[in-house]
């Protein structure tokens, strides 16, 4: 059964410059001069995935250092500062751990709250009405659409982000990775795994 953790959201008017930027983007998309996907793709490539990279470093450290993991689960914001990651603007970071029988996934049902500091920019689908509403109602089905098929007896916990509290998923370390260094482990961790719509996979040996 999915649990739903609700919080306050914040429909505040945008700044003049933000409204203007949004106006240009929406008009360009309406006129088919650009697509939201094309913008996503450019941003993702240019940013060199710097956002998800921060999250991946956090996950890899937690996998190799049980004490760090304990601190991370107790106070996410303080633990990521240990790794030199800043960028949180006073909001809490709650890290939720996947383990056998429990799978976590994050969503923002009312807007697009996202753990920026560790995951960078949210993908367009995260902001879509379909993802925001359906993940709460039927997470198992939505996860299956992402290609993540969970056993019936795995409990799915859905964490609803807010302006005050952002969530990040600590995925399970895949089996067969005992020989990998922290850096090699970080390279396996994807944005989708930290949102909770994928597992961390080990690429087949070449």
């Amino acid at each position: 059964m999915a649990e739903h953790h609700g919080h306050d959201h914040h429909p505040e008017p945008p700044s003049a410059v933000e409204a203007r930027a949004r106006a240009l983007e929406s008009l360009l998309i309406e006129k088919n001069l650009v697509t939201a996907d094309a913008i996503d793709r450019i941003v993702e490539v240019y940013e060199s995935d710097i956002g998800p990279l921060n999250g991946a470093r956090v996950v890899a450290r937690a996998w190799v250092d049980p004490e760090f993991k304990r601190r991370l689960l107790a106070d996410g914001a303080a633990a990521i500062r240990e790794l030199g990651i800043s960028g949180l603007r006073g909001e809490h970071l709650v890290v939720v751990e996947n383990r056998p029988g429990v799978h976590n996934v994050i969503v923002c049902t009312l807007c697009s709250c996202y753990p920026w500091a560790v995951l960078g920019l949210p993908p367009t689908w995260y902001k879509s009405a379909a993802y925001r509403s359906r993940m709460v109602i039927n997470p198992r089905e939505v996860l299956a659409e992402f290609g993540l098929h969970l056993d019936e007896d795995t409990r799915i916990e859905v964490w609803d982000s807010s302006a005050e509290t952002r969530y990040m998923v600590l995925p399970e370390r895949p089996p067969g990775t005992e020989h990998l260094s922290e850096e090699e482990l970080a390279a396996l961790v994807t944005r989708d795994a930290m949102v909770g719509v994928a597992r961390v996979e080990v690429p087949a040996r070449a």
Partner: protein, 108 residues
């Protein structure tokens, strides 16, 4: 797709150079990355030459007394779109007003 270091946007130098930290691009708000992405995507789709945008960006940097790089980028991009007849000034004003007054959902 993997090597972006040689593309026109990444090669701009001096005051027009993209803001970076440790060599990585820095965006301070989602709108900045969206407007950056739209500009590069439209250039890559062949809708304008990079120098057409870059020239306006350099003008805006010289003209606007602001520390905010992407604010000037936004003005330069808007000017390019209007001057090339891709968007109308009036529709931009109208749409921005709707977002500003929350008459339109920011996420749609």
């Amino acid at each position: 797709m993997s090597d972006r270091s040689r593309t026109p946007a990444a090669q701009m130098e001096g005051a027009a150079a993209l803001p970076r930290r440790n060599g990585e691009l820095v965006f301070e708000a989602p709108w900045q990355s969206r407007i950056f992405g739209a500009t590069v995507a439209m250039h890559e789709a062949g809708l304008f030459e990079w120098r057409e945008f870059q020239g306006r960006l350099i003008e805006e940097i010289a003209r606007q007394d602001s520390e905010d790089y992407y604010r000037r980028w936004l003005t330069a991009f808007e000017r390019l779109l209007v001057e090339r007849g891709l968007l109308g000034r009036d529709e931009i004003e109208r749409r921005a007003g709707e977002y500003r007054r929350l008459e339109r959902d920011l996420l749609d």
